[in-house]
Amino acid sequence: MQLKARHKTAGIIVGAALLLAAPYLAPYQALATQMLIFAIFAIGFDILFGYTGLLSFGHAAFFGLGAYGTGLSLIHLTSSVPLALGLGILLAVLVAVPMGFLSTQRHGIYFAMVTLAFAQLIYFIAFQWRSLTGGDDGLQGVPRPSLGPVDLSSDLVYYYFVLLMFILALVVGVRVIRSPFGRVLQALRENGDRAMSVGYDPRKYKLISFVISAGFAALAGGLYAMLQNFVPLFSLGLDLSGEIVLMTLVGGMGTIYGPVVGAMAIVYVKDFLSSQTDVWPLIMGLLYVVSVMTFRRGVVKELKERLLKS
């Protein structure tokens, strides 16, 4: 076990150094920021998928709602960054409560399909409501105001702001999972009947987990809107809902750090591929097939196993 602790410390130091230097390592600064944003999304998704055992296939809805909520707040209501991000999260949570309430009636595949269908509903509402959302042109002209004395308009400064948010999300995520509440979630994942028989109401816990992960997704979405100065309609779409599942699975579900790595890797690979070739959907599809067929336990778990053996 000492071996494990040593590896852990080394891992944290290397990780921290990489994160601090990332804007200088990545091909361009905004890409490093984007990698962090999707890592935040993945942390939240892992709480639901990895730790609660619920596969949502509609989580882009909350990413998108966070993005539109934050973007619209910045355009129409406020120039306060925390308030706008908070409003984006609030919007996503307000939708997540009824949506989670209805979807958690069902388990397994049904849960995935019901969440997918609700996400499509939200997608089409945004698509139709042109006057508010810009329809399929997306929401244009989202400003990136200053945060108190800090000017976020430079991509480099904004990266470190997102890094701060990422660390916050990571700390909150880990605390949620290690809290008694998080233990109940894992008990539900392992054996729902047993958890129920000792007095936990599964639906209540599943719903709370759903809403928490929606909050993380919305934070990521809000940060994304400010990064791009724009909210594309695809931020609500089916492709993104699938991508977050892939990121979590490739990284290793139920390991928090795994999905973070998975998200960063996939954002990077996707950016690289789409700059090299216009057939990247085909390659992404192959990536799905290959990772499901061969890399099932995720990158981090495989690495951990190998380190422990050595």
């Binding site: 089409f124 698509f127 085909l282 992404m284 799905y288 097939v289 067929m293």
Partner: protein, 292 residues
């Protein structure tokens, strides 16, 4: 509004509903027996339409040939996918096959886009089925009536097949009791392959039938996939009667919302699904503990 207009819209709703019935029947049979939610189902539907386009405009064969050949081609592709990829994951949690088929969907869709281009292809109604029929109270396009007849015949055929044949008995065992089908084990792996082929063939047939009334384009499968999911959620997953009823209901909702409130055409079915979920969480004919 004229009653004749409403009648013809009702018929249009039935025709659209037929496409959903065919698609959701395939999805439901595969799900009920194999426990796989096939995300590539829409892509197979799209392949059916492109196969029909290729056979009729490049090979100059007639529409009847398309109706026979295309479902067979798509079924064969489905069986290859099942044999070499999907069947490897039956023993794992269900989301692996969900993601696998999601990836396959992207591959098929992008491959078609590369081969045929992103724009749609025109597909004319076959000559024999052009024009309209006098139904006594209104005229209605021949081709659309043809879709109604084919779907009705096929649903009946599928029902007989499931009730009367050995393969059908396995499907029944699967849809009635998931563990039962599981207990049959991997000895019947070819049967599973055939069943997947049947589901794929049904979606391919839906694609051929839809080709003359919709645009043949790479995204057509993606668009209809989620709507088909809504149909099976409403009908009750694994239920054949549920698929038929829910498919026809969704067809009506879509058609009449286009007439009376166009913006609702893309959203109302989801609202209806929410309503069904509140009142009947398992859909019209869904049963307890079914691949949950």
């Amino acid at each position: 509004m004229e009653p004749v207009f409403l009648f013809s819209q009702f018929f249009n709703g039935l025709v659209l509903g037929c496409i959903y019935v065919l698609l959701s029947l395939g999805l439901t049979v595969v799900f009920g027996t194999l426990g796989v939610v096939n995300f590539a189902h829409g892509a197979l539907y799209m392949l059916g339409a492109y196969a029909a386009y290729t056979i009729s405009s490049k090979l100059q064969l007639n529409f009847l040939a398309c109706l026979v050949l295309c479902p067979l081609i798509v079924a064969a592709i489905g069986m290859i996918l099942e044999k070499f990829l999907i069947s490897k994951l039956y023993k794992l949690p269900h989301y692996y096959n969900l993601l696998l088929t999601f990836g396959i969907m992207f591959i098929i869709q992008d491959a078609v886009k590369i081969i045929f281009g992103p724009e749609g292809e025109p597909f004319n109604i076959p000559e024999l089925l052009q024009g309209a029929v006098n139904l006594g109270f209104m005229y209605y396009p021949k081709y659309r009536l043809f879709i109604l007849v084919v779907t009705a015949g096929l649903s009946l055929g599928l029902w007989l097949f499931i009730e009367k044949t050995r393969l059908g008995a396995i499907i029944r065992a699967g849809t009635d009791n998931a563990e039962m089908a599981d207990a049959l084990g991997t000895n019947i792996s070819w049967t599973f392959t055939l069943i997947f082929g049947l589901g794929a063939g049904l979606s391919g047939l839906a694609g051929v039938l839809a080709a003359p009334i919709q645009n043949v384009q790479p995204a057509m499968g993606m668009d209809i996939l989620v709507q088909t999911f809504v149909v099976v959620i409403i009908g009750g997953m694994g239920s054949i009667a549920g698929s038929i009823l829910a498919g026809l209901v969704i067809g009506q909702i879509l058609t009449f919302s286009i007439v009376f409130w166009p913006p609702g055409s893309t959203t109302l079915i989801y609202a209806f699904m929410a309503l069904v979920l509140v009142t009947r969480p398992r859909g019209f004919f869904g049963r307890v503990s079914f691949f949950e």
